[in-house]
């Protein structure tokens, strides 16, 4: 993974000092609330229902065990012994005291972490594929480019006060696990049709929120050396022309839609002509240097002659292990290794919440079995990407002891869920209690396995932090005269077949959400053709039979 240079470390340390100064001035009354707000937001600090919430950046979701231990330490020392994994692959803490935040940032800086630009109208943490570097279907590891974007965008003087927040995602694979089509800018590594050189396809103007839009292609193929100059051109056009009169119309998707993609592209291309051969040019040598940080591990080191047979024996001997193996692990590009998804979706816990003991536990397991690295997924789980097969059983035992081995990855209860009304001051309705209701209703794992792959995504308001528009089943909390109601959509997807879900009918009462999902699933089971997933059935059948089943 990327290691800070002395300059990187210096910048983060100076950011801590700057924020300490700003916080002290605010607490002393010399900096007004209005002036402090954008400053703290640009450092990931929100004032929420109960206390300030601090969002810590996890660049493209990649963490070392040392960093995970620091997150555990922070939750223990300054918070209530837990943290929450977010859909931008970050971790946030909900119960900090404002006066402690500079100390938290100083602690983070000791392990090359920060909270820069995890909020505010600026370029946010670049997200990526949780299988980066280990996926068989990958063209190239996207993380070196994510890191370049991270550096270019960090404290960018020109783009720190954009019309609205700005999110970029990069995928190295045709199978899009980074939701690139619903980002302000989506970047996909592609091969040039003739030259076979790897470059980028650039999408612009995707996003969720109040106005969900699938991104449009602005550049079919961009040579690697132009990545940053092209991004700069897009951001400059957006910064100058994006709407600032209405924050709900300020995202780049609104600008792209109002100008039309052709006109927007023309403006960007014209701007880019002035920038492309300038100082943002990326030399091959810089790419090579950056790629050195993301080299494959020494996989031969852990290869064990007996691995295949020992795994087979364990799978045979323990059905519970076999189920976990089938559900929570997947193929690695190197034979003899598996990718393990750690389910942070235990039925009784809020989706994506981890205790300090779990954080420390995962750090130790990563040290023991996966080269001391882990990834946060945008689906609010963790991944240990490089586990030798013969270590899987021991890892599973370890995960069991921390209640992190729920074999539900990819199933109905592996939900994306925003913090909702319980924590968030924007929310209209709660989400965590709905997740619990769904877990209570669907506690039969065999039924979940029969239903198969299904992505449920839930947001407590139309800002869509829980990505409900792109859930196979989406749940949106709405406020109706002070009561919590839930609008259900079906048929959405954030992957390469990205689509926005369709509303099935009037919103349902809070106590009926799980029951409504049960009806949708029964309908699916009745109507599915062999091997058809829920999403495929919805696409074949349309909304009608599901609507009919729910509303009669």
């Amino acid at each position: 993974m990327y290691q800070y240079s002395p300059e990187d470390q210096c910048l983060v340390n100076e950011r801590v000092a700057q924020f300490r100064d700003q916080t002290e001035r605010f607490l002393a009354g010399t900096l007004s609330e209005d002036e402090f707000r954008p400053l703290r937001l640009m450092n990931g600090l929100y004032i929420q229902r109960h206390a300030p919430m601090l969002r810590v950046a996890v660049p493209y979701g990649l963490l070392s065990s040392e960093q995970m231990r620091m997150l555990a330490h922070i939750s223990r020392k300054y918070d209530r012994r837990y943290g929450h994994l977010t859909t931008r692959q970050n971790m946030q803490f909900n119960w900090l005291a404002l006066k402690d935040v500079p100390d938290v940032l100083a602690d983070l800086a000791t392990v090359e972490m920060h909270s820069i630009q995890t909020s505010g109208n600026c370029i946010r943490n670049t997200s990526s594929d949780q299988l980066a570097g280990v996926a068989k279907d990958e063209l190239e590891d996207p993380r070196p480019y994510c890191e370049m974007i991270r550096q270019w965008s960090t404290l960018h003087p020109e783009f720190s006060f954009l019309p609205r927040k700005f999110k970029i995602a990069v995928s190295g694979s045709e199978n899009d696990r980074a939701a690139t089509q619903v980002h302000d800018i989506g970047i996909q590594l592609v091969e040039h049709a003739e030259t076979k050189q790897v470059g980028f396809k650039i999408l612009v103007g995707g996003g969720l929120g109040r106005t969900p839009v699938i991104g449009k292609v602005i550049k079919d193929y961009l040579p690697k050396k132009y990545l940053l100059s092209y991004l700069e051109a897009i951001l400059r056009i957006y910064n100058l022309a994006g709407r600032r009169d209405n924050k709900y119309k300020a995202r780049i998707k609104i600008l792209v839609n109002s100008l039309g993609i052709e006109e927007f592209t023309r403006l960007v291309e014209e701007e880019w002509l002035h920038l492309r051969e300038g100082s943002l040019m990326i030399e091959d040598a810089s790419i090579n240097e950056m790629q050195k940080y993301f080299q494959p591990f020494d996989y031969a080191k852990y290869r064990d002659e007996s691995s295949a047979s020992s795994l087979a024996e364990k799978l045979e001997a323990s059905p519970a292990f076999a189920i976990w193996y089938r559900q929570n692990t997947q193929e690695h590009k190197i034979p003899g290794y598996r990718v393990v998804t750690i389910s942070v979706k235990a039925p009784e816990e809020a989706p994506g919440d981890m205790t300090d003991a779990q954080m420390d536990g995962v750090a130790q397991l990563a040290d023991d079995y996966s080269f001391s690295r882990m990834r946060v997924t945008h689906e609010q789980n963790l991944v240990l990407a490089d586990v030798p097969e013969h270590k899987l059983h021991a890892l599973w035992k370890g995960l069991l002891s921390f209640d992190l081995a729920t074999p539900n990855v990819g199933t109905l209860t592996d939900m994306i869920c925003c913090p909702g009304l319980d924590f968030c001051s924007l929310a209209n309705a709660s989400s965590i209690p709905i997740a619990r209701q769904i877990n209570d209703q669907f506690d039969d794992l065999d039924y979940l396995y029969d239903i198969g792959e299904i992505k449920v995504k839930m947001s407590g308001c139309m800002n869509a932090c829980g990505h409900h528009h792109v859930g196979h089943i989406g749940i949106l909390g709405v406020d109706k005269k002070g009561e919590e109601w839930y609008q259900i959509t079906i048929g959405g997807s954030a992957e390469e077949d990205a689509a926005l879900g369709k509303i099935i009918g009037p919103s349902v009462a809070k106590e009926n959400v799980a029951e409504t999902i049960a009806t949708l699933l029964t309908t699916y089971v009745d109507l599915r053709e062999e091997q058809e997933t829920f999403l495929q059935s919805v696409r074949r059948l349309g909304v009608a039979p599901f609507k009919e089943a729910v509303y009669g």
Binding site: L11, E14, D21, P157, E158, F161, L240
Partner: protein, 154 residues
């Protein structure tokens, strides 16, 4: 006594008079001793006359203006004011960057409007070299916070 601004990392007394009212407005008194800054519209309407006059010339652009319209003018200008109507409105950063990088403007670019202590470092790095602070900001404290970072990525 004129007001104090920050220019080139120093506190200096302002030698300009911002005169964005319609042409012909009464600016008696001060206007005799100060250099006048006019709006982009005034500049464009009275370009020939202003170019013929001697003495320093300044233009203030609003954040809706396209700074590239000044392409043929920058060689004749001593000051361009970039307006920040609200601290969160970041168009001025791009305007300053374009003035420096695209048009090669070398003279003073001054931030006016809601110009706050904690944003000066970003403004400075976008090419702005003078700051007319919002009235409630402390010039000394602002000067001390002009360079919170000794390194940068851009």
């Amino acid at each position: 006594m004129g007001k104090t601004i920050i220019k080139d990392d120093r506190l200096v007394e302002d030698s300009w008079l911002l005169d964005l009212a319609a042409e012909g407005a009464d600016t008696a008194g001060e206007s005799a001793t100060k250099n006048r800054v006019v709006s982009l519209e005034q500049w464009q309407q009275n370009r020939e006359r202003l170019l013929a006059s001697s003495g320093p010339r300044g233009v203030a652009i609003s954040n809706d203006d396209d700074v590239l319209e000044l392409a043929d003018d920058v060689a004749h200008l001593d000051l361009i004011c970039v307006e920040f109507p609200a601290a969160g409105d970041g168009r001025g950063y791009s305007q300053a960057k374009l003035l420096r990088d695209r048009l090669g403007f070398k003279n003073e670019i001054r931030a006016i409007g809601e110009v706050l202590t904690d944003q000066l470092f970003l403004m400075r790095r976008s090419g702005i070299n003078a700051f007319d602070l919002q009235a409630d900001q402390d010039p000394e404290a602002s000067l001390a916070r002009l360079r919170p970072f000794s390194v940068s990525y851009q």
